[in-house]
Amino acid sequence: EDKVVQSPLSLVVHEGDTVTLNCSYEVTNFRSLLWYKQEKKAPTFLFMLTSSGIEKKSGRLSSILDKKELFSILNITATQTGDSAIYLCAVEALSAGNNRKLIWGLGTSLAVNP
């Protein structure tokens, strides 16, 4: 059975700290791995990763994928209170007929204290 596991489940840090969120997966017909940020509303897209070893970066956030070891990390440097959110990892697989299938992790809840 396909699965995506995120760790830790929750994390509390102080402003300015650097955090690393983990996402491991076991998915057949892997196509891509996606990271989302969810505050008190809809998930917002952060990154899509398809190739191993290529870092994607957006401001203080960065992410990398390891397709051999089947995991990805999301790094946030110099954290701010606005980074407080649930970070979701999802893996997209292609099923029969090129149908798209996203397998979601349960998320990491990050709280950044001032």
Partner: protein, 112 residues
Amino acid sequence: DAGITQSPRYKITETGRQVTLMCHQTWSHSYMFWYRQDLGHGLRLIYYSAAADITDKGEVPDGYVVSRSKTENFPLTLESATRSQTSVYFCASSSGLNYGYTFGSGTRLTVV
């Protein structure tokens, strides 16, 4: 407004009633999805659509019906609402295989 919009934002209904949640996107994205999000379960796919008139079941389709007669609309109907369908429902769209999913703001549905 451009984007993906869901309506209503909040809905309270009684057990046994039929309820329709609306989803509209202005990008002409081919793929559209309905998810429910519950504590402890994360996001679970109810139905998805690869194009107009093409729909398929996700993980938890029982009790739900969808249609997609136009590319921009993807309504989700609960045929006879049950308390277990109390949840937050998200619609999402995607333009293609190399693109991420964009989510609507969600509908919080309570079945009493």
